[in-house]
């Protein structure tokens, strides 16, 4: 029952001069969308098996509802700072006195994000340390040709095997660091008071756009590395074990359902060419067996589902955070192009930046532990 007070529409732009709270439809709709999405996804697949087309359209309905609610949310917020109206309450309580409330909230959010990635890393550690490593099993010779052994095959075993396998990951590392830098530059120019409004608009848009582009690049390279692969010019083949392309992990069979994955000692070609000098360590049991002619060697089948699962889900969660960042950056770039960022509300960029730097920080840990080691 409206008490005759000022009531902006629950769909429409906020009136920032009035401060919070304003009614909004988006929480209701967003929750509904998430529920529809999770429900239909769970109905469409069971244990990785497609259950028929019935609930597939519903997945898109769910995604559609989520997007719609995000649009409502943005529509309400787009006006923030655009016409000089900024609602940026400051902290009153010690010890955060005079810090923007949103900044504190963002740090609180990052605290829970830290715990999310700690959980994923703990899972990884537990499995990495608890399941025998495929290479160790391989060298021990305690396996039978044609029968899969359960062992842990770190993705790094594949990825770090050649310069070209590592290339997408390495470029991504640079891409994220550069994007961390560009977003901080966007913040700097948005905050600069002594420059022309138009210059500011162009600078901020450009830096945010670059960040957006680098995030897209990150996900594209991830797709190449996971699923697509990349052809190589001929003169590079010899640096890539003679392969004509960078094989995707998918093509290599590094999959969550890989229960008979073929473990390669990456020097098998080398072994064939130089039979006198196995790269299999001389002190290993396998070497002795091969010398004695009792073990054929070379091709070990492995059940690596857990290794692939931890790899894909951990890097995938990080990827999902990048995707979330892209959605945010799309909005911010558009807003910047409209001249939406001024020294008054530039802190918005800083708070998104905190999230973005955090995603970068996670990558700093993911990259060595999942790609290189």
């Amino acid at each position: 029952m409206s008490d005759g007070e000022h009531h902006p529409s629950a769909w429409g732009p906020h009136d920032w001069s009035h401060g919070a709270p304003h009614n909004s439809w988006s929480p209701f709709i967003l929750s509904m969308g998430v529920a529809i999405f999770l429900f239909s996804l769970g109905a469409a697949y069971e244990w990785g098996e497609f259950q028929g087309w019935g609930s597939l359209p519903l997945i898109f309905v769910g995604l559609g509802v989520i997007s719609f609610s995000l649009l409502v949310w943005w529509r309400q917020d787009m006006s923030f700072g655009m016409h000089g109206e900024v609602f940026e309450p400051k902290s009153t309580g010690t010890p955060f006195q005079n810090i923007d409330i949103r900044k504190v909230a963002m740090w609180m959010f990052l605290m829970s994000e830290m715990m999310v990635f700690t959980s994923l890393f703990s899972t990884y550690m537990r499995y990495r340390l608890g399941i025998p490593n495929c290479k160790t099993v391989f060298h021990s010779g305690e396996w039978v040709e044609g029968t899969a052994v359960t062992c842990f095959e770190p993705a790094g075993h594949l990825i770090a095997s050649s310069w070209f396998h590592i290339a997408p990951g390495a470029i991504n590392t640079f891409a994220l660091i550069i994007s961390s830098f560009t977003i901080v530059q966007a913040l700097r120019y948005a905050k600069k008071k002594d420059i022309d409004e138009d210059v500011r608009r162009r600078k901020v848009t450009r830096y945010l756009g670059t960040t957006w582009f680098l995030a897209i690049l990150f996900l594209t390279l991830k797709m190449i590395e996971w699923f697509l692969g990349f052809p190589l010019p001929e003169f590079l083949h010899e640096f890539n074990h003679g392969d004509s392309e960078i094989k995707s992990l998918y093509a290599e069979g590094y999959l969550i359902n890989a229960d008979s994955y073929e473990h390669k000692a990456f020097d098998t070609d080398y072994i064939e060419k130089h039979p006198e000098d196995y790269s299999i360590p001389e002190e290993s049991a396998l070497y002795a067996m091969m010398e004695a002619g009792t073990h054929p060697g070379g091709k070990m089948m492995a059940n690596i589902q857990v290794s692939a699962t931890t790899f894909y889900v951990t890097t995938g969660t990080h990827g999902a955070h990048v995707l979330g960042g892209i959605i945010g950056l799309t909005y911010m770039t558009l807003k910047a192009a409209k001249g939406g960022y001024t020294p008054d509300n530039a802190v918005s960029i800083e708070y998104f930046g905190l999230y973005w730097h955090f995603v970068d920080l996670v990558w700093v840990l993911v990259f060595p532990f999942f790609y290189l080691y």
């Binding site: 010890p95 955060f96 005079n98 810090i99 900044k103 504190v104 740090w107 609180m108 990052l110 605290m111 830290m114 715990m115 700690t118 959980s119 890393f121 703990s122 899972t123 990884y124 550690m125 537990r126 340390l129 608890g130 770090a160 310069w163 590592i166 390495a170 590392t173 640079f174 660091i177 550069i178 961390s180 830098f181 901080v184 530059q185 913040l187 700097r188 905050k191 800083e350 930046g353 905190l354 730097h357 955090f358 970068d360 920080l361 700093v364 840990l365 990259f367 060595p368 290189l372 080691y373």
Partner: protein, 120 residues
Amino acid sequence: MAHYKILGQDPYWMNFYGLMILTLIEVLAVGADLDSFAESVGTEEKVITLWILTIIAIPKFIMIAAIFMHLYGDEDSGILTMTALFPAFFIIIMVLFVGLTHPDAASSLPAWCRPGTYGL
């Protein structure tokens, strides 16, 4: 926003250069042939690489957090650093209890946990 300079230069640019150099070192460390060095200290190349990567990851981590995330140099940096470090205890507990333990039979309880070990 940063109100300080690094070596008289803009901190963001300096930080950026530093991060790029460190990352380059990382990638080179992965590519470099450290076999002979690894053998001389009696371990595998992988382990050496991992050590190098971990050691480099720490300054990278600090640089991003301190300079890009403004945990250094701003008026509110002190309290925000404390906020950021607050979960450290809980992270350590999770890594220790969840990440680094493994299921085992009750009969393999280590001696230091057993009654009588301390003459009690």
